[in-house]
Structure formats: structure tokens, C-alpha cells
Symmetry: C3
Subunit: 374 residues, 3 copies
């Protein structure tokens, strides 16, 4: 009843290029930097993500749903990583991928995802690795800061958005104002002096300076804002309500903010989208990671968020299975929630179909200025 | 199955007196002081509140449910603001309105709502505007504080409750103890010296003094305690758990507290009602603003709150459509949640009907000492 | 469809030995140290717990479900407290009770529960009362600290786990590192000097020292971590996210942590189990206290927690009725949630049955090293 002809995946990463064994595949399902392996006696297959992969993916490779993981992996190797990727990505109904290229590891980039998935793809530039690459080739604070400004400016020409993990590195309660020039120069000098090549940017002043540099570009800025996985704030407080001050300070400047990874604070993220015209919220991993429970989570996000402020994504990385799960779980949750409300008489069918199209693709087209595919 | 013959709307405001165009009407659906207009490319009609208005109100004016907003507004103007108000309010089943008169703007007062709605109405006095009016006519700290005490005392004679937005102005983590007399006098002197007529009360010491003055009156005290709309705390932390200290300090003094606007922290608000005998929770905007999703929210509030501690309200302001939505969404959510539990055998039908009556009206009758309408 | 042949109740207390009148029985349903009696005009029977007791227990004593409380109490007295306890506990399907013996009051211990319930029982030792008993017989800081180390060591030989209410006494944001020896000795000296026999341990340094002493034992450590009832943190902030630092500091040491009482932050607790291999979460009062609403709460916990990290408990204390409710509510919620997902095709039936067995008993058997009952 609620159809979404094509999807814009507004936040995802590339997939691994190599053939995968069972352990590597499993680690991609639930591993984090903190917990790369499951607890003794448990497996990451015994999660909503694991069950969702086993539900949706085996049929795409000619197997029964819910078949044992070892059987699925054997079939995956039989087909090869390229053919598997092609079959999986082309099943998703995703017509445009926005790809955050800022993760380490040998992942496919936008062009390769586009080719494999027979779709469009655009780049999202993650700010912190960009700054770290600039630092790798900078002599001192002055050249670093000039290089940073130049790099953000150049990236803004080709990227569709910037993303940031500043919240995960220095906490979500970002001081609302941009740091002063002297403060930034001092922080840059100290950081560069103590840094080895490749060292991560964790200085709060520089992280904040980076956010404000991106704000100046006018591109939408995606903020990892919640209890996600590898991007959990060090103090454990992941409530995006802490971003209220930053949102207030950036209102009316012409740059939109997109809150990523709100779970389990997705209602707070949704609430912020109702308070600030320039704040949007991503549905991605919030739904993809909760699998069979995703319809309830989607319904919660739809309680307060204006329907024009929500954006589908898969949040996938590493495995094309996760792009499949993101798309399928989203579609099914949308059908269940919106279809249910139509069945109750609470929503008109025409409105439900319109809202489904907005969340699936229309809002992203408007926000990122994407060419209309239809 | 679960019938609620009459409702006490324990927290609402009046309605606008003038004919409304589409933009003004839309702003009333979702606008806030921070975001009076929707984001470009979006509309406040595309929200749960907008869809709920389009569901319930057109039939009351002789139109199809879910008809386009422009059609509904045209019909509204055809009938006139008075006749529209009469038709809408008289459909709600609300027999008593408790009206917070502390909002600015040309809104109808309790007597006018009672006449339009063929119901009873009583006044809730908001503390901060009361203090600001006293300050407008006070020469210095001494006359201000004496005038304040007198005004609260007089208001307590005619009002059924006090309300406060102290949490939204100075954060929810209210220091539990009343400020000392010298501290209050000093704060009053400084505030009055720097104030122009009409200036808002934001001094934390005076806000706290005001709360304790109201506590002394014995009338129930309604606290805006959550993520609501225009009453969001400046630090973004809206968890009513922050009120734990204030609740502990006021326990046993004979004054009851009513937590308003708990969403998305409504479970925390419900939890506080289970911990403190003198703490109650309002259901109002929590349900009215979540529309088709309200049944899930109601079920969550009913997880931990003693059933004698919950109070229906519409939380409406500006549009009689919002009183309609508040009442209808509440009734439907109650039927769905309590009726479902009866169907499962979890609750007895007689108990469910009794609890419905308590939340709809009985608890408010007891708490506010209202004459029994039945 | 989803059967759980036997349950391990991984966290509960004993039951009262005396015949109970209506008021005493009612206080056990909802009373807390802060609110031993309900608000005027209300009763603790009008709660989810009260309704769940009235649903499940009367038939076990030969009465109709949902019969009036007075009738149930009369029948209870007619049978006597021993026969009532036998009938109730033996109906639960609980084959092993893990009993926290650290509550005051005349409650039955593990051996007596085992005999009454025809089951196995093991002891959980609560750390703070253990330390207080040591303090009662210690002359000074040196003997106290030596006695404490010895007592924890001895307890670890017979207990299956330690439990702690440090979060409720000093806040959840436990400083992650163990306190230094000098700091501990100083705190012990000050505390003992100002203490009367039986006085509670509330010193933050000693509470932290106690946690790290237990960590050294290798036994699982159960932490009261949420908005529970008598164990609510003094600042009202019960988000187990605050335990992130402690969890990070204890990772890889060989001691597992079990988060108790997560509600209403159960999603955060579940999230922590997905981030840290050594962190587990309890379902107990989270489900038992939410009664008819428990299925939704269980579904939320299952969104992100790996299925190997969740543990059934009743969290019961005082009344065997609460053990019954804990078990019945859990079973019904499991059937509804997992059965629903199987019905939707989201989960395979075989997987659902396997996960049910893990949460009901298997995970507890593995974590606590219990002999396999089957």
C-alpha cells in the first residue's frame, strides 16, 4: 500500500573488497572499536542485525531465508565478492548513495558503489580525517590553518555534505560559539607539536573550529549525535539535546544540520527537528540495527518530527548486506506504521504515500540539491 | 468499550478571537518562539498535529476528514470564528476547563471558554507574569516582595492552581531549598534596577522564591517540566528527573506538584509520580502532539505511574481545533490501550472503565477540589 | 509457540514470614522508603503491579482472576503464609533462584526459598551491608579494611555473585579508577570515627573501593543502575550511560557486570551490553513492574542488546506474588514479542525458541557457572 519506488541513502559507507570468512563477516555485524569480538559463548549473529541479514539476504543469493550463517558465507564465496555485491546492492531500490569516505580500511568509494549498485553516488567528506591529512603535510599552525580552510573550501565544491564525529571525540555539549582566532592558533600549535603523522584530532577547540569552518561552507553538516556504535561520546551522555546550544547558534546562517545516529535518543533528535527549522534527523542505523523492532522506533520518530525533516539512510558500512537490511527494514517499517495509521483512519492514504516519498527520497533531494531522478 | 462520559481539561489556554488566514492558522499548529515558521519546502500541516486536525475537525464543520487545509480554512471563515469555536468546543465532551491565563496575546479567558464550550471553567494563574505585573507597579525591592506575597495570596483565593515556567527559564535542576530572605531581597533589588516595564523574570533566585511562595499557598503547583515546545530548558536537558530534589524538599508540605509537558521524558515523569505521593503527571500535549502515535505514548506512561496520579489535558492554545484534537486523541488512545489490555485478559473490564474515569476526570476532581459535575 | 521450560531467576529477594493484612500487603506492591504509603485517595493496587497480581495469583489460590484485593487477602490468610508461598512459588516454573540477602527485614533466605519453591537457590551477597557488618566489629581503619578484604574473599567462595547499590548512594557516575590505598585508608578512618553501629556506608571513596574489591574476586558484579524504586540516585539521573567509564575501566579484567533496574533507561542499558563484552542486562523489575505494558518494554530491550547478554529475573521481594508476576509477565511478553516476529517472518521459529531459552536460563547458566538442571 505504501510504496517507495526509489530511495536516497543519505548516509552510508563503502563495502569491503575482499572475500570474507565467517569471523570477519561476523565482526562487521556488531563489532566496534571497543568490542571487536563478541563475549565468550555469544555471537554477533544473535542480534537484530544478524537476524535481519539472515532474513533478507539469503534469498537474494538463491538460499532459504534464515539459513545458517556458514551456509550463507559458503554461497557468498561461491558467487564471489563482486557478484554478491552486485546482486545485493541492485536489490535495494536505492537510486542514490551519499557515501561518507572518511572511514579507514579498504572500502569502495562512491564511483565503485554507483557502478556496483547501478545507481548514482555522491561523496560526504568527514571533517576530522580531512584535518588530519592536512596536518600530515603542514609545517606549523599557520600553514595548517590556511591549508584547512582551503581543503574545506575545495571539498565543498565536489561533496554534497560534510560529516563530523566531534561529539564522539569531545562530547556532544559543543560550546555554541566559534572559538577565537588566537585560541584556534594556540590549539593548533600545541596539537601539531605533540602529534605524530596520522594522529587523531581530539582537541576540543580545533574540533569546534572545524565545525564552524564547515558551517561557513553552506553545505549540510551531518553530526554523529547519538548512541551509535563507534561514535559514542566518552562520557556516555549521548542525548542530542546537548546540541541545543549549537543549533541555536547556527540557526539562520543558511547551513542545515543533520543529526545522525540518534538511538536511543531518537525522540530527542526528532524533537530538535521540530524546534529548529535548519535541523534534520537521519533514520539510518536507528532502524537498520533494530531489525524486527524497527517499526516501533520509526513510529516514535514520527511522533514529533515534522515529516519534511526526516531522511532515510542505511548507515551501512563494510557489507552490502547492511545496505540491503537498511533498505528492507525501512520499507517494511514504513508500510507497517503508515499503513497501520491509514487502516485506522488516522491518516489519509494519499498523505501517507506522500510522506513515505518525502522520507525515502524527496526530503534528501531538496536538502542536498540532488537532481531529480524521476 | 472504554467510555469517558465527561473530561476535565486540567491544563489549556484560550483561543484566538480573530478570523484566521492559512499562515496564521499553520503557525498555531507547530510554531514556537524559536521557529515561528516552518523550514523552506515544509509545512506545519505535515506533522501529527496537522494530520490530527485534518482528521477530526473537518467533519465537525460539515466537510470530509483529511480535506485540504485551504478548503478547511475557507469553511472556517464561512462559519465565522464564533460559530466555529462553538461547534468545535461543544464536540469535545470536556465539561470543565482549567485555563492558564498567563500567555500573551488576545486569547479568550475562562468565562468566555465556558460560554463557548457550554462547560465550567476555572483559572490557573501563571506565576512569572504575575510577578512581572507586580514589578511594573513596584518602586523597590520591599514593595515588590510585599506586593508579590499579596498577589499570590489573592490569586490563591480564586484560582484552582498555579503554573510555572521556571524550568524553561533557568533549567529544571531547581535548587531544592527556598532562598534566604536577604538573598531574595538582593536579587529583587538588582532585577528591578536593571528592568524596563514588561521585562521578563529570569533571575534564578526570584524564580525559586516564587515557587516557594506558591508552595505556601497550598494550591496545586503545575510545573512545565519537559521537552515542550516553547518551554524547553535553555541547556536542552529536559529530564524531569532533575526535579527530584525539589520534589523531595516539598514532600509532606501539603502542596501537590503536577508535571506538565514531560515528552519525551514522560516515562521519567510517570516514575516520579510513583516515588512521591504529592507528584502528579499531565498527559496533555504528550498525547495531543503525537496524534496517531499517542496510544504507544499513553501505554508508556501507564507502565509505572499509579493510575490515581495521571491527569488528562489538551494543552491547547490559540485554536479550538487543538482542544478537539486533545480530547479525541486521548479518548482513542485510552480505548486502544485499555481496551487492548482487557481483550488480552490482562485487565478486568470494570477496572479499565474505572481507571479511564479516574484519568479523564476523577483524579482532577479530587486534586483540584472541583465540584462533581455528575 | 515460544516455550520456556524452566527459568533461572537471576535476581530476587526472599519473602515475608508473617501473615499479612491488606495494608502491609499493599505497601509491598508499590511502597518505597520515600513513599511508604500511597497518596490520599489512591491505592498501590491501582498500578500495573497490582493489576498483574490480581490477574495471575487468585487462580493459584482457587479464586477468580481480578477478584477484589480484600477477598484475595482473606483467602491468603485462610491458607496460611506457608501454603500460599508453596502454591505460588511452585507455579512459577523457576528452577533456580539467585537471592540477594542484603535487604533488612525478616525475609526468607536461599535455603528456605529453595524448599518452598522446590527449586535450587544460591546467594547473591550485597556489598554495602557486608561492609557495614565488618565496620560494626572493627576497631579502626586498618582492621576494617583487612576485615573487608577477608569478608569479600570468603563470600566469593559460597556466593554466585555480588550486588551493589553504590549508584543509588553516590550517583551512577562512578569514577572509573580504583581509589588509592592512602585515600581509602583516610576515608575509612573518617567514616568509622563518625559512625554509630549499623550506620550506612555512603562515602563515595569507600563505595568505589568496595566495587573494585569485588571486581578482584572474579564473581559477576550486579549493579543497581536505574530508576528503580528504592535505588534511585540522589540526583535523579539514573541513565546507566553514566557507567560507561566504569565499564571501560573494568573491560578485560575477567569480571562481568550485570546492570539491574535499567527502567526507564533500559534501552541505554541494552546499548551498553552491545558495546562491552563483559556487560549484561537484567530484565527483572523492568518487566514485572510494567505488567500489561511489558511486551513493549521487552521489545525495546531486544532492539540493540545481543541476545546472549540478557537475563531473566523477577526482582521480587517480600511477596511470593511478585515472583509469580515476574515469571508470568516475562513468559507472556516473550511469547508475544518473539511469537509476533516469527509470525511476521522476521525471525525463524527455531531461532526464537533458542533465544527464549537463552534469556530464560541459558545465559544465566553460562554467566554464573550454574550446574545445568536439564
Amino acid at each position: 500500500m505504501i510504496e517507495t519506488v526509489s530511495l536516497v541513502d543519505q548516509y552510508c559507507h563503502g563495502v569491503l573488497r575482499t572475500e570474507l570468512g565467517l569471523a570477519t563477516f561476523e565482526a562487521q555485524l556488531g563489532g566496534t572499536a571497543r568490542a571487536p569480538a563478541p563475549a565468550p559463548g555469544t555471537t554477533f549473529f544473535d542480534t537484530q542485525t544478524g537476524f535481519a541479514v539472515r532474513r533478507w539476504c539469503p534469498p537474494l543469493l538463491g538460499l532459504e531465508p534464515h539459513c545458517p550463517p556458514a551456509r550463507y558465507l559458503a554461497r557468498r564465496r561461491e558467487l564471489g565478492v563482486l557478484e554478491t555485491g552486485r546482486r545485493l546492492l541492485r536489490s535495494t531500490g536505492i537510486s542514490t548513495y551519499l557515501v561518507d569516505t572518511g572511514l579507514p580500511g579498504d572500502l569502495t568509494g562512491p564511483a565503485e558503489i554507483a557502478a556496483t549498485g547501478a545507481a548514482e553516488a555522491h561523496e560526504i567528506v568527514r571533517l576530522e580525517p580531512l584535518a588530519e591529512r592536512v596536518a600530515d603535510v603542514s609545517g606549523g599552525a599557520g600553514t595548517f590553518l590556511a591549508g584547512l580552510a582551503e581543503s574545506v573550501h575545495v571539498a565543498a565544491d565536489s561533496a554534497v555534505a560534510f560529516s563530523s564525529v566531534a561529539g564522539a571525540r569531545a562530547g556532544l555539549a559543543v560550546s555554541p560559539e566559534p572559538p577565537g582566532a588566537g585560541e584556534v592558533r594556540g590549539a593548533a600549535g600545541r596539537w601539531l607539536a605533540g602529534r605524530r603523522a596520522g594522529g587523531p584530532l581530539t582537541d576540543p577547540v580545533l574540533l569546534r573550529h572545524l565545525l564552524w569552518t564547515a558551517i561557513g561552507s553552506g553545505l549540510p553538516l551531518q553530526l554523529h549525535a547519538g548512541g551509535g556504535f563507534d561514535t559514542y561520546p566518552p562520557d556516555g551522555h549521548a542525548d542530542p539535546g546537548a546540541l541545543t546550544g549549537f543549533a541555536a547558534a547556527t540557526a539562520g546562517l543558511g547551513t542545515d544540520l543533520v543529526l545522525l545516529n540518534g538511538y536511543p535518543h531518537h525522540r530527542h533528535a526528532a524533537h530538535l527537528t521540530s524546534v529548529f527549522p535548519h535541523v534534520y534527523a537521519d533514520l539510518g542505523p536507528v532502524l537498520a540495527r533494530t531489525g524486527a523492532g524497527a517499526a516501533s522506533v520509526l513510529a516514535e520518530i514520527l511522533e514529533l518530527a515534522p515529516f519534511g525533516k526526516l531522511l532515510f539512510s542505511s548507515g551501512a558500512r563494510g557489507l552490502p548486506e547492511l545496505h540491503v537490511v537498511g533498505a528492507q527494514v525501512f520499507r517494511e517499517a514504513l508500510e507497517r506504521v503508515l499503513g497501520g495509521w491509514v487502516g485506522d483512519g488516522a491518516w489519509a492514504l494519499r498523505d501517507a504515500q506522500r510522506v513515505a516519498g518525502m522520507i525515502a527520497a524527496g526530503n534528501a533531494h531538496r536538502l542536498y540539491g540532488l537532481p531529480d531522478a524521476s
